[in-house]
């Protein structure tokens, strides 16, 4: 790896896709939604695999939106992108950890005598992280 490539990796610019991939992201999301609603009407995959795959296709679409470059990328937007990811990381993390904990505490206060459970978000947490990132990045760009 030469110095130029190493510098690119250090800046965090190496994972980003071209801008048009933002539009290509519509296809996995559409495929995911169609597969989710029509999983009973196909014979290729069983229902469990179809549900899991549909969810992951939607996540893949959002991931493509996240990692595709802006129309006019520059150093300032890259810093904003990193900042938005950091904010999404923290806020998403607090959300997915604190909410089940609060549910558990409130459940133990108000539902005495019945079986308590500790449910978490599972793969939905990744979706929450992605949404948090998109909101934060949009917010930072508005503030520019």
């Amino acid at each position: 790896m030469n110095d130029k490539q190493l510098n690119k990796v250090r800046k965090g610019d190496f994972l980003l896709l071209p801008h048009y991939m933002k539009w290509a992201a519509i296809y996995p999301v559409l495929c995911g939604v169609v597969l989710f609603f029509f999983k009973e009407h196909q014979q290729f995959l069983n229902e469990e695999v179809a549900t899991g795959m549909a969810g992951h296709l939607i996540l893949l679409g959002f991931l493509l939106i996240i990692i595709s470059r802006d129309k006019f990328p520059d150093e300032r937007l890259l810093i904003l992108r990193h900042k938005a990811m950091a904010y999404a990381f923290i806020h998403g993390m607090i959300l997915v950890i604190v909410t089940p904990f609060l549910t558990f505490l409130l459940g133990s206060l108000f539902r005495s005598g019945t079986q308590l459970d500790f449910t978490d978000y599972g793969m939905l947490s990744i979706f929450l992280f992605q949404i948090m990132y998109l909101i934060n990045y949009w917010r930072f760009k508005q503030e520019l």
């Binding site: 250090r10 965090g12 994972l15 995959l45 069983n46 469990e48 695999v49 549900t51 899991g52 795959m53 992951h56 996540l59 893949l60 991931l63 996240i66 990692i67 810093i79 992108r81 990193h82 900042k83 990811m85 950091a86 904010y87 999404a88 990381f89 923290i90 993390m93 607090i94 997915v96 950890i97 089940p100 904990f101 558990f104 308590l116 459970d117 500790f118 978490d120 978000y121 599972g122 793969m123 947490s125 990744i126 992280f129 992605q130 990132y133 503030e143």
Partner: protein
């Protein structure tokens, strides 16, 4: 003049309260919480306590909370450069963890179908503990790597 909600939120953010960093001493407190929770989880498993699923969920939450406290504690010398490195490490961790978690089940499914392990099953839905601990691991690793490169 009365400030709008958006302006109030921006002021709040500029004061660094949306992304709060806590004092350096909390690094050790966070580590202690995580270590005690790990010991609690292991002892509950060894003693085979009833409703282990419930308690393992609670202990795992405490482990993650401790690690988050450690991750959010300030460095001894916190400046703008360290802050940018922190953001970059968060960004790397976020992206790599999401890429890994999204692509792993597809890769597993592909391998299953290539080697002919039918019927195909979707076994790769990960728990929050796995997802968050992966992200925290990546963040801590990259932050330390970037600090060494300074």
């Amino acid at each position: 003049m009365e400030k709008s909600f958006k302006q109030k939120f921006c002021d709040f953010d500029k004061r660094g309260l949306v992304f709060p960093l806590i004092a350096t001493r909390y690094k050790y407190i966070g580590l202690a919480i995580s270590a005690i929770s790990v010991i609690g989880l292991l002892s509950f498993k060894l003693l085979e306590i009833a409703s282990l699923d419930l308690w393992s969920g609670v202990f795992k939450s405490f482990i993650l909370s401790g690690l988050i406290i450690t991750m959010l504690s300030k460095e001894k010398l916190e400046d703008e450069r360290i802050k940018n490195l922190r953001f970059r490490a968060f960004a790397f961790a976020f992206l790599l963890a999401v890429v890994m978690i999204v692509f792993m089940p597809f890769a597993a499914l592909l391998i299953d179908s290539v080697i002919g392990r039918f019927p195909l099953v979707w076994e790769q839905d990960q728990s929050v503990f796995y997802i968050i601990s992966t992200m925290i691991f990546f963040q801590m690793m990259y932050f330390n790597i970037f600090k060494r490169q300074l």
